[in-house]
C-alpha cells in the first residue's frame, strides 16, 4: 500500500479559499477605512465638521410645493427639507406608477390587436418613447411644449372641474369636514369590504362545489357604490370638494400639481408605459396557444378562457418585470432636478448640499432612501416569485 500523497498546503483549495477571502476582506476594509479617513480629513480642511448637527438649523430657502407638510421659511429646519423631499418623491412615484400601469397595459394589449394599424401604432409608440432618453423627454415636454404653449391662468384649459394652464394642473380635492363622521364612514366601508371578501370566498366555494357561479364582480361593484353612498349619507356627508377657483394670478384651492410636477409625471408615464407595454405583450405571448386551445376544447367560453386561463398565466410573466419598472420609475423621478420639481435629490442632494457642504451625510442619506426602496422592491419580488412558483408534481 502506498502512502496517500499529501496535498501541499498552497495547493489545497480550502486553504486557498480562506486565504483569498481574508485578503479580499482586508483590502476592501482598508480601502473603505482610508477613503473614509481621507474624506473626513478633506472635509475638516474645508472647515466642515461632518455630523448631523445641521439637521436642526433653520433652512434658509423656500420650497414651493409641500402638499403634506407645513413648511415655513424661517422656521422649518434642514431635516424638514429631507422629509419634504421624500414625500414629493413618493407623490410623483405613486402618480406615475398608476398612470404608467394603466397606459402600459392598454398599449400592451392593443399591441396584440388583430387590427394591423392599431398594433403598428402601438409598436411605433413603444419604439419612440423607450428609445429616447427620459431626461430629454422631460425637458422637451416642460420647456418646449408645456411652458410656451399652455395658456395663462385666465384662459386655462378646463376639463370639468380640472384646469390646465402654464402654472400647472389644478384638480378638485376632497376635504374632510368632520373627522368623527369621516372615521365612522371609513369604519362602515371597512365592514362592507370585509363582508364582500367573505361573500367572494363563499361564492368561490359554491362554484367549486356545484359549478354554479354568482356574478361576484357586479354584486361587489354595486354594493360598493350604492352601499358606500348610503353609508356616506348615514354618517352625515363627512366630505366636501374643494374646487380650484380662479384668483387674481392663479387658481386657488383644490389640488395643485405645479407645471414641473405635471411635466415630470407626463414624461415618466409615457416613458415607463412603453416598457410596461412590452412586458405585457411578452407576458400574453408567453402563454402558449395550446393552453387556449385546451381551454376551448374543454368547453370554456371565450371569456372564461381569457379570464381563467390566459390572464393568470400571463400575469406570472408580466408582474415581476413590471415591479422592477416601478422601481426604475421611482429612481427616474430624481430627474426632476432638471425642471425644478422639489423632490429628494433636488432639494436634499442639491440645494441642501450646496448650502451646508455636508456631502458625506447628505449623499449617504439620499442613497439610503433609494437603497431602502430597492430592497423593499426585491423583497416584494422574491415573495411574489415564491408565491406564484409552479407547484409541479
Amino acid at each position: 500500500m502506498t502512502e496517500r500523497t499529501r496535498i501541499p498546503l498552497h495547493r489545497d483549495p480550502r486553504v486557498r479559499a480562506i486565504l483569498v477571502q481574508v485578503l479580499a476582506a482586508v483590502v476592501v476594509g482598508y480601502g473603505f477605512y482610508s477613503l473614509f479617513q481621507t474624506t473626513v480629513d478633506n472635509l475638516v480642511a474645508r472647515g466642515i465638521q461632518t455630523g448631523t448637527n445641521f439637521f436642526d438649523e433653520v433652512a434658509p430657502f423656500q420650497i414651493g410645493f409641500t402638499p403634506f407638510f407645513d413648511y415655513k421659511l424661517g422656521e422649518s429646519k434642514y431635516i424638514d427639507v429631507f422629509f419634504v423631499g421624500i414625500q414629493n418623491t413618493i407623490l410623483v412615484a405613486v402618480l406615475g406608477i398608476i398612470a404608467a400601469t394603466l397606459l402600459g397595459f392598454f398599449i400592451g394589449v392593443i399591441r396584440l390587436s388583430p387590427n394591423w394599424l392599431v398594433s403598428r401604432g402601438a409598436l411605433v409608440y413603444i419604439e419612440i418613447f423607450r428609445n429616447v432618453p427620459l431626461l430629454l423627454q422631460i425637458m422637451f415636454w416642460n420647456f418646449a411644449i408645456f411652458l410656451p404653449t399652455l395658456p395663462a391662468p385666465k384662459n386655462s384649459i378646463a376639463m370639468g372641474a380640472f384646469y390646465l394652464n402654464a402654472r400647472g394642473f389644478h384638480t378638485p380635492l376632497p376635504v374632510i369636514e368632520n373627522t368623527t363622521d369621516f372615521a365612522i364612514w371609513i369604519a362602515l366601508l371597512t365592514f362592507l369590504v370585509i363582508g364582500l371578501v367573505m361573500f367572494a370566498r363563499r361564492a368561490k366555494a359554491l362554484f367549486e362545489e356545484t359549478g354554479r357561479r354568482l356574478p361576484v364582480p357586479w354584486i361587489s361593484a354595486a354594493a360598493l357604490i350604492i352601499g358606500g353612498y348610503i353609508f356616506y349619507l348615514v354618517s352625515g356627508s363627512p366630505l366636501s370638494f374643494d374646487e380650484p377657483v380662479l384668483g387674481r394670478f392663479n387658481f386657488k384651492g383644490g389640488g395643485q400639481l405645479p407645471l414641473p410636477l405635471f411635466s415630470l409625471w407626463f414624461a415618466l408615464t409615457l416613458y415607463t408605459s412603453a416598457f410596461i407595454a412590452e412586458n405585457v405583450r411578452a407576458g400574453i405571448q408567453s402563454v402558449s396557444h395550446g393552453q387556449t386551445e385546451a381551454a376551448l376544447a374543454l368547453g370554456l367560453s371565450r371569456k372564461d378562457t381569457v379570464n381563467l386561463v390566459t390572464i393568470p398565466q400571463a400575469l406570472r410573466v408580466i408582474i415581476p418585470p413590471t415591479i422592477s419598472q416601478y422601481l426604475n420609475l421611482t429612481k427616474n423621478s430624481s430627474l426632476a432636478v432638471a425642471v425644478g420639481y422639489e423632490e429628494l435629490v433636488a432639494v436634499w442632494a442639491g440645494i441642501t448640499l450646496n448650502q451646508t457642504g455636508q456631502a458625506l451625510v447628505i449623499i449617504g442619506m439620499t442613497v439610503a432612501v433609494y437603497e431602502c426602496l430597492s430592497l423593499l422592491t426585491s423583497f416584494v419580488l422574491n415573495w411574489y416569485n415564491k408565491r406564484i412558483q409552479l407547484t409541479e408534481r
Partner: protein, 373 residues
C-alpha cells in the same frame, strides 16, 4: 383504334376575392370586426388631424438654408432646421472643435474609424472578426485618446472642459461600456463564487450601484470624488463622470452576465472539472464563452440604457449632446428654437438606441435555437 381521350382539366378557378389579395387583407386586418373597424377609423382620424400639420411644419414648410434667424422669422410656419444646420458642428463635436475649423478632422476621423470598425462586426460572415474586435476595443480607444485629446504627435491638446456634443456622449458611453465589461464579468463570477466573503462583497457592490439613481451617483462623483482623494489629486470633470458611469454600468453588466452564467448547465463545469481543469481555465475556456454568448442581448440592452443615461451628465453641467442642443437653442442668436434642438438630439439618440435594440432582438432570435417559429 379509337382516339385516346386526353383528359383536359378545366382551368383553375381564381381564388375567391375575399380570401386573398389586398381587399381580403384589408378586411381581415383593418375591418375584421365592428370594434376593429371603429379602431381603424379612429386611427385614421387621429392620423389625419395630427400628422399632416406635423409633416407640414417639419418638412414641407421647414427652413433648411440660410445662416441666421431672419430666414426662420420670415417663415415662422415651418421648423427652423437652419438653426441645426448652422450649429451642427457645435452639437456634434462640441465647442472646442466647432471653434477650430482646422481641427475638425479629428472628431470626423474618429467617427469614420469607429463605424468602419463596427459595421463589419455586425454581420455574421465577416472574416477576421477577432482582429476587428481587438482593433475596436483595444486600439480604437488609444487612437481616440491621441486624436481627440491630443497633446502629442504634433496634435494640439484639446481642453476637456470644452468637450461636448455628441462626441462627449459617445466618449462617455464608450468608456462606460468598455471598462464596465471586464469589471462586470469579474463581479458576476464573484457573485456566483462559493467563497462567502467574495460573494457578499460582489452582492453588496452590485446591489448598491443598482439601487441608486444614476443622477445621485453623478452628484457623488462630481461632489464627493475630490473628497475621497488626498488634497492635490485633481480629476477632470469628464473623468469624474466617466468613473461614476463605469461604477454604475459595471453593476448592470454584472447582472446581465450572471444571467448568462446561470443558464449554462452545470454539467459543463463538472465535465471540465473531471478533465482536471482548474477554476480559471474552466471559467475562461468553458463556461464564460458560452455564458457571454447567451448574454449578449441583455448586455446590449444595458448598453442602450447607458447610452440614454449619459444624457444625465447635463445635470452636472457637462455639455453633452442634450445639453449642447439645449444651450444652442438658448443662445441669443437662436432663442426660441427649443423644439428643433430637442427633436434633433432626440432623433440621434433614437437612431442609435433603436439600431442597437433591433440588433439585439435579431441576435436573440438567432441564439434562440429551440424556438417554434
Amino acid at each position: 383504334m379509337s382516339e385516346v381521350k386526353i383528359f383536359v382539366p378545366a382551368p383553375d378557378r381564381s381564388p375567391p376575392s375575399n380570401t386573398l389579395g389586398p381587399v381580403a387583407w384589408l378586411r381581415e386586418n383593418l375591418f375584421g370586426s365592428i370594434s376593429s373597424s371603429i379602431a381603424t377609423l379612429l386611427f385614421f382620424y387621429l392620423c389625419f388631424s395630427y400628422l399632416p400639420p406635423f409633416v407640414d411644419w417639419a418638412f414641407i414648410k421647414a427652413n433648411w438654408t440660410g445662416t441666421d434667424r431672419s430666414v426662420c422669422e420670415a417663415n415662422a410656419a415651418g421648423a427652423c432646421w437652419t438653426f441645426i444646420n448652422v450649429r451642427l458642428e457645435q452639437i456634434l463635436f462640441g465647442l472646442y472643435f466647432a471653434s477650430k475649423p482646422e481641427e475638425l478632422w479629428r472628431p470626423t476621423l474618429i467617427f469614420v474609424l469607429f463605424f468602419a470598425l463596427l459595421l463589419p462586426l455586425l454581420f455574421e460572415r465577416t472574416p477576421g472578426k477577432k482582429w476587428l474586435s481587438i482593433a475596436l476595443l483595444g486600439v480604437f480607444p488609444v487612437v481616440f485618446y491621441f486624436v481627440v485629446y491630443g497633446g502629442s504627435f504634433g496634435i494640439p491638446q484639446s481642453n476637456t472642459t470644452q468637450w461636448g456634443g455628441f462626441l462627449l456622449t459617445f466618449a462617455l458611453a464608450f468608456v462606460g461600456i468598455l471598462l464596465a465589461l471586464p469589471i462586470g464579468i469579474l463581479l458576476a463570477l464573484g457573485r456566483r463564487s462559493e467563497m462567502p466573503v467574495i460573494r457578499s462583497i460582489c452582492v453588496i457592490y452590485i446591489e448598491f450601484w443598482r439601487g441608486t439613481p444614476l443622477i445621485t451617483i453623478l452628484f457623488m462623483a462630481s461632489v464627493m470624488l475630490p473628497l475621497f482623494f488626498p488634497a492635490g489629486v485633481e480629476f477632470d470633470k469628464v473623468v469624474r463622470a466617466m468613473i461614476g458611469i463605469t461604477m454604475f454600468q459595471s453593476a448592470y453588466t454584472a447582472e446581465a452576465v450572471r444571467g448568462g452564467l446561470a443558464a449554462i448547465p452545470k454539467g459543463q463545469a463538472e465535465a471540465a472539472m473531471a478533465l482536471g481543469l482548474g477554476y480559471w481555465r474552466r471559467t475562461v475556456l468553458i463556461t464564460l464563452p458560452q455564458a457571454l454568448k447567451i448574454s449578449i442581448p441583455s448586455i446590449v440592452n444595458t448598453f442602450i440604457a447607458l447610452f440614454k443615461d449619459t444624457s444625465l451628465v447635463s445635470i452636472i453641467g457637462l455639455l453633452d449632446l442634450l445639453n449642447m442642443a439645449q444651450t444652442a437653442a438658448r443662445s441669443v442668436e437662436w432663442k426660441g428654437y427649443d423644439i428643433e434642438g430637442y427633436l434633433f438630439a432626440g432623433f440621434i439618440y433614437w437612431a442609435f438606441c433603436y439600431g442597437m435594440s433591433r440588433y439585439s432582438q435579431n441576435l436573440e432570435h438567432k441564439l434562440d435555437t429551440n424556438r417554434r417559429n
